[in-house]
């Protein structure tokens, strides 16, 4: 049951083959049994889940609801959920129960989905391995000694292990795609502005974007139907109607023009990963697509540009965590400054503190032009590269990450090696275009994700491309051994 698609489960729920309460209990039992090995949930909201499931059953009884009604999902713990602890993976928010609901979780809830709980993540979404969580590292279901990727590592691991049908994630520099790749699931980072950021705890506001993480492109499309669309509460959300993401999944790929950026296949790319990607590209050619080499010349600059812009915004976004109104406050502050300093030093982990300092430095007087402004100039160049390339091709393909999942602890002492993990994903966020990670094979027993990037608001196209691939391959149907036992 846990391996089945949203469409199948929706049918079963509608046919009364199973009730949402039963399905929810099944997943809660799986979480109880398997998650101690994975640590993919920070909070399991059993009571809320069962209440929602009962409500979904009542709705289904009357023949109403959507394809998500009664489907158990999980939310990354940076979406604020009313009445349910929302930590953002941080000690700072160890006690934070929001009195409001994020637009994303609210829309998914309105579509009838059941929230099983909140998934683990790198603190404030800063990380590529999910090792930066106050609630402990998440393990990769394919190999418990490996990282699941980050920052949406909890969501990726939970979906891969069948602890939730699907999950939400957020992607600031690859945080949906890289863990999806490492855990062998399908993830979509939508166009910046396609999904509302209201109620999403901000890391870097101009880059953050929520999106679906699921077993297949079709499941992602079901989630996008609920998540996407204009939100008047988010001024940066796109004021244009969302597409029907399910409508064109079956459009044949004949004549699809695929661009392969040569910079994505250069030094640093694991040859085994390269082989998997090239095999996937061959599969697309069989489906009628044509392939041409393209160039995204400023790829290398995406790392310095990102690691100035994102920390700059973060340094400001995280100022509100000051111990005054909510979140962690140190014991017995001597005075105001002491309260600020100790509350923040105790509440934030090392990586968060590091990025706040980098950002504060980059924005400070005398450095702003050399760092922040220059990074913004590079960002425009990167965007122009994509715009130009996407005039010639329909989609761009390449690896999501240079390697498969790496060992827990293997890169924690080398931040530059860790930052290099994001080389193929960061530029997408800087440009604001949508991109997916699709399971495309394995290297040494670990999943490899194919990255598919498209033009602004081309989510439906990406989902169509991914779905067609998944109709002809079964990489997305593979299940890690540890998930089969329960």
């Amino acid at each position: 049951m846990f391996e089945q698609s949203i469409s199948t489960l929706a049918q079963k729920l509608r046919n009364k083959d199973i009730s949402s309460v039963e399905l929810t209990r099944l997943f809660l039992a799986r979480i109880a049994k398997l998650d101690p090995q994975l640590n993919s949930f920070i909070t399991v909201s059993e009571q809320r889940a069962l209440e929602q499931a009962a409500a979904a059953d009542a709705l289904l009884q009357s023949g109403k609801g959507t394809s998500l009604t009664g489907i158990p999902v999980a939310h990354k713990d940076l979406f604020c959920t009313e009445g349910t602890l929302t930590t953002c993976g941080s000690r700072m928010l160890n006690n934070f129960i929001p009195p409001y609901e994020s637009t994303v979780t609210s829309r998914i809830q309105q579509a009838g989905a059941v929230m099983l709980g909140k998934t683990n993540m790198d603190e404030f979404a800063m990380g590529s391995s999910n090792e930066n969580s106050f609630y402990g590292a998440v393990k990769n279901p394919w190999n418990l000694d490996m990282v699941p990727g980050g920052s949406s590592g909890g969501s990726a691991a939970a979906v891969a292990a069948g602890l939730a049908v699907a999950a939400t994630g957020t992607d600031t520099g690859g945080s949906i795609r890289q863990p999806a790749s490492f855990c062998g699931i399908t993830g979509l980072k939508p166009t910046y502005g396609r999904v509302s950021r209201f109620g999403m705890i901000a890391y870097a506001s101009s880059l953050d974007q929520g999106g679906p993480m699921a077993k297949s492109a079709e499941d992602c499309a079901h989630l996008m139907q609920a998540m996407a669309g204009f939100d008047e509460k988010d001024s940066t959300s796109a004021d244009k109607p969302a597409d029907d993401y399910l409508a064109n999944l079956n459009t044949p790929l004949t004549g699809l023009k695929i661009g392969l950026p040569k910079e994505y296949f250069g030094e640093g790319l694991d040859p085994q990963v390269a082989d998997v990607i090239m095999a996937a590209v061959k599969e697309f050619e069989k489906l009628g697509a044509t392939v041409k080499e393209i160039s995204l010349p400023n790829l290398q600059l995406s790392i310095p540009s990102y690691y100035v812009i994102a920390p700059s915004e973060a340094s400001s976004n995280l100022s509100r965590f000051d111990g005054v109104r909510f979140g962690h406050r140190c014991d017995d502050p001597k005075d105001l400054l002491d309260m600020y300093m100790r509350s923040r030093a105790e509440g934030f982990g090392t990586e968060v503190q590091k990025r706040i300092m980098i950002g504060t430095y980059a924005l400070s007087e005398g450095y702003y032009d050399a760092y922040y402004l220059k990074a913004q100039k590079i960002r425009r160049l990167i965007k122009e590269d994509f715009v130009k390339a996407l005039e010639e091709v329909d989609v761009i393909m390449g690896p999501v990450a240079p390697t498969t999942a790496f060992g827990l602890g293997s890169k924690t002492s080398d931040p530059v090696a860790m930052y290099l993990e994001d080389i193929y994903t960061l530029s997408v966020n800087l440009a604001g275009i949508p991109a997916m990670s699709i399971p495309a094979g394995f290297a040494d027993g670990m999943p490899v994700g194919l990255q598919v990037m498209g033009n602004y608001f081309a989510e439906a196209k990406l989902l169509n491309v991914a779905h067609q691939y998944q109709q002809h391959t079964d990489w997305h149907l593979q299940t890690p051994t540890m998930a089969k036992g329960a």
Binding site: L78, F79, C80, T86, C88, L93, F96, P98, Y100, S102, R197, F198, G199, M200, I201, A202, A204, S205, S206, E232, K233, D234, S235, T236, S312, E313, S315, S316, L318, S319, R320, F321, D322, V324, R325, F326, L336, Y340, T360, L363, S364, E365, Y368, Y372
Partner: protein, 481 residues
């Protein structure tokens, strides 16, 4: 040494929008702490700002009123600093691309001279909350009702050269924003606050001296006094061979002194950068032009019209147009009596006197423009004389009814029957034979001085009701015998 003072002003004007600059919370003064807030004003995680378009419209109106370039693309920026009543840890403001660019105002001083004050810019920004230091046993209470209230910060060039000029400029800004209806102008409640940048330099020197900034002065009188005090303080230091330290100072009205708040070394690095949660505000020419078309008549335009249309003096026209309420009162009253000079004299004279006595704004005058106009009609048609009219106005003020009702009830109607006046005069001449003899013996100059006695007697006998315009000629004629 002969010092020249150089002053630039930053005026924070609270825009009178219904809701806040970036949230739907109501704007209001005096509500229970933290009751006028939303997630946005509280700086909750994940809360996002949504720009209030009404504040934009008001800012563009102001831009037109000061002859300014309108920023067709303006950008909100974050000004980052930590303070407990600044919930997000930054203030959303505008830095490089303000909504209103360079403009100017021509300010008229009391001596009738005009000086042009340049306005560097005016930008939109959100206000912070308030820290409450009382009643919390050594802790600080935070009230975020004011958080995200819209402000328009109006920054002048250092073109101001005296306290009087500064006050005239602030009054002019006050008058414009209230005319436009974009600010209630209530300085006591903080709707307008002024930061004063002030430096001295030897007369004739081109370079500016080191300046200090006096923060948050909130009345015309305090602005004037703070400037005088600060000039004196700086001059004393300079004349003793000292140097001015660039710093922020506070004006204490009780001690009438400014004192240091923080020096430049303690100043924050605000790390301004464009706010990524808000898109740049891009205006169309049509939008800007449409707002221009909605501008009401401004004080200077009104003053000019009062001179050309109503024949008022420049001084009267300026006084009457200094506030929209005063101008409206004048025009509404004049519509009833159709005598601008008479109306101007009575609005600026007796009515203003009563308002001042009770410290009331003209908006709250117990006598309406309409009823005030009706009183003036009775002066104009000689039903009552000016002296009686003052009493009638006082009775109206005290709520005793309309002018006509009071005149009727108290029998104050002026005597205009010449026969009755002649009879009254005859009685008085008969009773004062000695004075009549003296008058008749005197020369013309002396007679002119003596006639007052007889007029006084007549007015006394008539209880003020005799029409002075009739009494005089009849009296002169009858005294001749």
């Amino acid at each position: 040494m002969n010092w020249e003072v150089v002053i630039g002003l930053e005026i924070h004007t609270q825009l009178s929008t219904k809701s806040k600059l970036f949230s739907g919370a109501a704007v209001g003064f005096g509500a229970e702490p933290n009751t006028q807030t939303t997630l946005v004003d509280l700086g909750m995680p994940g809360a996002l700002p949504v720009f209030n378009k009404e504040a934009l419209r008001m800012a563009v109106m102001f831009g037109h009123a000061i002859n300014a370039e309108i920023g067709m693309t303006s950008v909100f920026a974050r000004k980052n600093y930590f303070y407990p009543d600044l919930p997000k840890g930054y203030q959303t403001s505008q830095m490089d691309h303000p909504i209103v660019g360079k403009g100017y105002l021509d300010v008229m001083l009391e001596d009738g001279t005009t000086s042009r004050i340049g306005i560097t810019r005016a930008h939109l920004e959100e206000d912070a909350g308030k820290s409450l230091h009382e009643d919390f046993q050594g802790m600080t209470g935070i009230d975020l009702n004011r958080s995200s209230t819209p402000l328009l910060e109006i920054v002048s060039e250092p073109d101001i050269r005296s306290a009087k000029e500064a006050v005239a400029y602030v009054k002019m800004i006050h008058s414009i924003v209230t005319y436009l209806g974009i600010c209630d102008g209530n300085m006591a409640e903080g709707s307008m606050r002024c930061d004063i940048n002030l430096s001295l330099r030897p007369k004739g020197q081109k370079e500016y001296g080191t300046r200090t900034e006096i923060k948050n002065v909130n009345s015309f009188r305090f602005i004037e006094k703070a400037i005088y005090t600060e000039i004196e303080r700086q001059a004393d230091i300079l004349e003793d061979g000292g140097r001015i330290i660039q710093e922020t100072r506070l004006y204490d009205p009780e001690k009438n002194e400014t004192r240091s708040m923080r020096s430049k070394e303690d100043a924050n690095d605000y790390r301004y950068f464009p706010c990524p949660d808000l898109l740049p505000v891009v205006l169309t020419q049509e939008y800007v032009d449409n707002i221009k078309a909605t501008l009401p008549e401004l004080p200077s335009q009104k003053a000019a019209r009062f001179q050309s249309e109503h024949g008022l003096s420049e001084y009267d026209a300026n006084v009457l147009s200094s506030s929209r309420a005063m101008a409206d009162f004048f025009e509404n009253a004049n519509n009833v009596v159709k005598d601008p000079k008479l109306t101007a004299n009575w609005v600026m004279g007796e009515l203003s006197k009563l308002l001042n006595q009770e410290q009331l704004d003209i908006e709250n005058s117990p006598v309406s423009a309409q009823t005030f106009g009706e009183l003036l009609v009775r002066i104009k048609d000689n039903t009552i004389n000016g002296k009686t009219a003052k009493d009638v106005l006082q009775a109206m003020w005290d709520g005793e009814g309309s002018a006509d009702a009071i005149i009727e009830a108290k029998g104050l109607k002026q005597v205009t029957d010449t026969g009755a006046i002649e009879a009254m005069i005859q009685t008085i001449l008969d009773a004062n034979a000695t004075q009549v003899e003296q008058y008749r013996a005197a020369d013309e100059d002396k007679q002119k001085k003596m006639i007052g006695f007889f007029v006084g007697q007549v007015m006394k006998a008539s209880q003020g009701k005799a029409n002075p315009g009739l009494v005089n000629p009849i009296l002169v004629k009858m005294l001749k015998g």
